[in-house]
Symmetry: C2
Subunit: 398 residues, 2 copies
């Protein structure tokens, strides 16, 4: 089954990929360790956090993907293995070696990730024990693997789509498995998202496509402006479906990443609604992205959405605080879920009750036209609710 936009109603893996998850004892319940594996070696690429205090798996991951070949990904939740010094590097290496041994492949083909609390040593013995036996548990549902990497996510995140329309049996498939709901403001990388495809694409091509796509999707997502130390987005292409039209592949990947971005934003910590931002009429791409991000990140825009309160002057504020961007106060226009609320920098005579209803309806669409140029960018965010504070005032101790 697939929908008109080629998305599958229930996510499934491309041929040759499987996963398993277990509870190895880092969390009290649920799953805390996932293994994703391909039957055969894959071309691969990845982008990582730009945070200057990267996790040990990120430090090693940068080295690993340089060869452009991967076959498996092993991920634990609950402990991030960040701020753990040389011991953290050693622990991350052991985690990869354990997964490689379990799968009977070379350790250079296993990417490691860890997500959770920063500054706490990785309980590596528990992880090594947990990895043992996972090969026999590998199965076909990507949601199982998505469950093992959740932290404060309220639901597992996986999706798949076909690259071409007529592919009921043979065409290539792209599957994304992701997590992330707080400390999300990827900036040139992303949270944890693993992308699996059976299309045959070279490592170099994957790298270029992944960077372009992440830049337009995950890198324009902000839940809370805080850029994680563990952000990782990796793509593995095992080629089992044969060659693919490059444009169709990139287009499908882009649509899949937009959808995963929206899943992550909507499940942002405490979030009740997805906020989609489009900025048009910017002088250039940098300005369009800066203003879109400013709107997605402004606490006062986010609380306006949460409260359903059409205090649209805050849109002017969030545009105007982009000091380095070309902004003309008297040209700014804005629409909230289709209703014009600002024209030429002035509040329109909109129906407040109607806009209030729209603000309370998921998703909320905010389009801003700067009226000074040809460039456009999109960003994704969510509202800011007391739930965000409740979760983060007690995350470590919970």
């Amino acid at each position: 089954m697939k929908t008109d936009d080629f998305f599958h109603e229930a996510p499934r893996f491309p041929r040759g990929f499987r996963c398993a998850a277990t509870l190895c004892g880092l969390k009290e319940e649920g799953q805390d360790l996932s293994l994703f594996a391909s039957e055969v070696e894959c071309a691969a690429a990845a982008v990582f956090t730009r945070n200057q205090v990267p996790g040990a798996p990120v430090v090693l991951g940068r080295e690993l993907v340089r060869r452009g070949r991967l076959q498996a990904v092993v991920v634990n939740s609950r402990v991030a293995n960040v701020g753990t010094g040389p011991r953290g590097i050693e622990d991350a290496r052991r985690m990869g070696v354990a997964a490689a041994r379990e799968l009977g492949i070379d350790p250079s083909l296993v990417l490691m990730s860890s997500t959770g609390v920063i500054g706490v040593p990785l309980p590596i013995e528990k992880i090594e024990k947990g990895v043992s036996g996972l090969a026999a548990a590998l199965q076909d549902d990507p949601v199982v693997g998505a469950r093992g990497i959740m932290t404060t996510d309220t639901h597992p995140k996986a999706l798949s789509l076909s690259v071409e329309r007529d592919d009921e049996r043979g065409g290539p498939v792209i599957t994304l498995v992701g997590k992330g709901s707080g400390m999300i403001a990827p900036h040139m990388a992303t949270m944890l998202v693993y992308i699996f495809t059976d299309a045959a694409v070279s490592g170099a091509a994957l790298d270029a496509i992944l960077r372009r796509t992440a830049d337009r999707t995950f890198n324009m997502l902000s839940v809370d402006t805080d850029t994680s130390t563990s952000d990782t987005c990796a793509i593995l292409a095992n080629g089992l479906a044969g060659p693919v039209d490059p444009d169709a592949f990139e287009d499908a990947l882009h649509r899949a990443c937009v959808r995963m971005t929206e899943m992550l934003a909507r499940d942002g910590e405490g979030a009740t609604r997805l906020l989609r931002i489009v900025v048009r009429g910017a002088a250039d791409q940098v300005d369009a992205r800066t203003v879109a991000r400013s709107l997605a990140e402004s606490p006062l825009v986010k609380t306006m959405v949460y409260g359903g309160d059409p205090n649209v002057g805050r849109i002017l504020m969030a545009v105007g605080k982009c000091f380095g961007s070309r902004v003309a106060a008297d040209r700014i226009g804005a629409r909230l879920s289709g209703v014009a609320v600002l024209e030429r920098g002035l509040r329109t005579a909109f129906d407040e009750g109607a806009v209030r209803e729209l603000l309370l309806t998921d998703p909320v669409e905010l389009e801003v036209d700067l009226g000074v140029g040809p460039s456009e960018a999109r960003a994704w965010g969510c509202d800011l609710s007391p739930g965000y504070i409740e979760e983060n005032a007690a995350y470590y101790s919970s």
Copy 2:
């Protein structure tokens, strides 16, 4: 009465300054219009918001202070007169003319400010009526004027101090009146703060001193990262106390601005605690300021303080996300209210219960040492509580 650090126990005006406040009908209760005036013309300087959608009073204020002479300030709360087009400019002008007429002085000597909701026309007739009669109501308590400019502030903010120790009768005094609790991230300007002094200082000297001081105090304050469209910090020096030692004056002004900055941070919307940040060991001033701001603005650091939860890995995250700054992950040290919690990038074996207590005690002091250079900077913020969201989810309709 004054304390050892020259602050007066109850704020008072320097000689020659007085103020009045009234309810002109913008708010339902309290005061919404304040007038501050000197008996004689003053040397003056001001810094304003860098937001590119500045309020009409900011647009006019920039012109007004260019001459370096002012004698009065008229301020209304509840409506910001921002996003109001040519009509807003005309309304702001009328507000200044009304105050000038009331005081019998030239309109070029009156600075106007407005604070409140953006995008709504200023009810100028109400303000003109309200100004009428204020000259007769001028009195000596700066707290009266502070009351008229409050928006979501929980208390009026005014303070005064003597420039020199032995000044019980004759020495110059500096008085600050301010407001601001949300949309506070001044960046090269500040919220509304008016500074009055009877020291004799030239307009050019005032301008230089004010810029240096604001840069080290108000510009390093962030309640919510949202830079207001109305930020204004003006200083009026009427000279009635005669000449002053320039270094003593700047030092006193700096201490006064630190204290006002801390009053504003502690009264940030929903805030329960003041957060004082010091960053040391940075490669240069820009890095020191960037990292200090990142720590003050991080939602995850702010919720850590609110929750009293010693999840100190978030400090590493907030340092590391300063992509452009020189950071060495294995050199970062941090102290929370005096207790070492990070050393060489690793969590120390600190007493969690003790640190939890310190996080729950106002103020919270966070010192970070980057260990890569000689530079130091301070920033101020507050915790992030559900109260911030409650206030801003319904500010406009309230």
